[in-house]
């Protein structure tokens, strides 16, 4: 027993080190974002953002009629309704990302009426749309929409995450990206 004790201790320590190494979170966990998960169709509340993800559909073309602008491609259009919980100062959806198939797509900057960047209000929902330009071969899969008021994925701040299944979403020929509007405006 005396002879094997050092060996057993050694093996136990190596195993312990292995377990500790495996369990230690990645460096990103130290200052990564706080993910607030929610489902589509219900309001999700974060520190400086309240978002409800509405309908999503594919389209071969998007248009902004006021600008007489159109673009063809494999577009995914998502309706969103957003508001600020506390203050209107600096309140806007600035990062809207679609994560699918190991790739991250940021909402397209091309439509001038995209909800991205529009000022949000306290107590009143702003309804708008965002469009993602996807590669031609991507029209199915389990996706996730990430929304935040920061320009890039924040450290130690909230990011709203909503799952979205792309399979079975309707596809249209052309969708107009309507200007952001207040619910029930006169």
């Amino acid at each position: 027993m005396k002879k094997t004790l050092p060996w057993l201790t050694g093996v136990a320590l190596v195993l312990g080190a292995g377990i500790v190494a495996a369990v230690t979170p990645a460096p990103e966990a130290q200052d990564g974002p706080f993910l607030i998960h929610g489902a589509a169709g219900q309001p999700i509340v974060a520190r400086d953002l309240i978002v409800q993800v509405g309908e999503a559909r594919f389209s071969d073309r998007i248009t902004v009629d006021d600008d007489d602008w159109r673009a063809d491609g494999n577009w995914l259009i998502v309706n969103l309704s957003a508001a600020a919980p506390e203050t209107e100062v600096d309140a806007a959806l600035r990062l809207v990302e679609l994560v699918v198939d190991g790739r991250e797509f940021i909402a397209s900057e091309q439509p001038s009426t995209s909800l991205v960047g529009t000022g949000l209000r306290v107590g009143t929902d702003t309804e708008g749309m965002v469009a993602f330009e996807l590669p031609d071969d991507l029209s199915a899969g389990d996706a996730e929409i990430r929304l935040s008021t920061a320009y890039s994925t924040p450290n130690l701040d909230d990011v709203i995450v909503v799952p979205l299944e792309l399979d079975g979403l309707p596809r249209g020929h052309s969708v107009e990206i309507a200007e952001p509007s207040i619910e029930g405006a006169p």
Binding site: I106, Q110, S152
Partner: protein, 220 residues
């Protein structure tokens, strides 16, 4: 009198003994080591490990695609002008604008922008001290402007695996345009994650090897 004869004899005996000891059984490990080192060196030399790295950028014409693991670029059109009104862009005195219209395809896994940072990823395609797309044959006098839609001031985003047609305008010395060697140098991108000072989730595309030189003279 020094006994040289004795010394000579002793050397001869030791030498004979020494030569025999080289081939003795105790020396076998030494021979094995030496043998394997020589064999390894021979293999490395044959494979080319000791050759000096050579890098000859491919000569590419307008309309031909340069495809790299991280992005692909095809020059579609070249134009030299003094102003782009829709972008409120005007060349200074003694300068001109070289407009290069290209099809850029982002082949990485996340959206990038042409310069600056997009969600933590700095692509350094242009406007960097070591850009991936570099105009050669002329002196560039300032930062390049670029657009997808000439009437819009919004910064174009390059989505993964979605090609986009972007125009980049470089301000250059007008005098340099007389020499007929205007070209676009295309470098490979070497994406590196940050560490220590920069967050590890931030990715920077460092300038890699010069892969191709696209001759722009034909398009002017």
């Amino acid at each position: 009198m020094i006994d040289l004869r004795g010394a000579r004899d002793r050397v001869r005996v030791t030498a004979a003994h020494g030569i025999r000891s080289v081939f003795s059984r105790r020396a076998t490990p030494a021979w094995i080591t030496l043998g394997s080192l020589v064999a390894a060196a021979a293999v490395l030399i044959a494979v080319g490990a000791f050759d000096t790295a050579e890098n000859e950028p491919a000569a590419v014409a307008i309309g031909e695609e340069v495809r790299l693991p991280t992005y692909a670029v095809t020059v579609l059109d070249v134009e030299v002008t003094e102003a782009v009104e829709d972008q409120f862009l005007e060349a200074e005195e003694g300068e001109s604008l070289v407009l290069v219209t290209l099809r850029l395809e982002n082949l990485s896994d996340a959206t990038i922008s042409v310069d600056g940072t997009s969600d933590g990823i700095s692509s350094h395609l242009v406007n960097s001290s070591s850009p991936l797309l570099d105009l050669s044959g002329v002196a560039v006098t300032g930062s390049a402007r670029y657009w997808r839609d000439v009437t819009s001031s919004r910064r174009p985003l390059l989505q993964p695996d979605v090609p986009a047609i972007v125009t980049i305008a470089w301000p250059v010395e007008s005098a340099d345009l007389d020499s007929d060697d205007l070209a676009l140098e295309v470098h490979e991108a070497d994406p590196q994650h940050g560490n220590i000072v920069v967050a590890s989730t931030d990715v920077t595309w460092w300038q890699g090897v010069l892969v191709a030189r696209i001759d722009l003279e034909a398009g002017r």
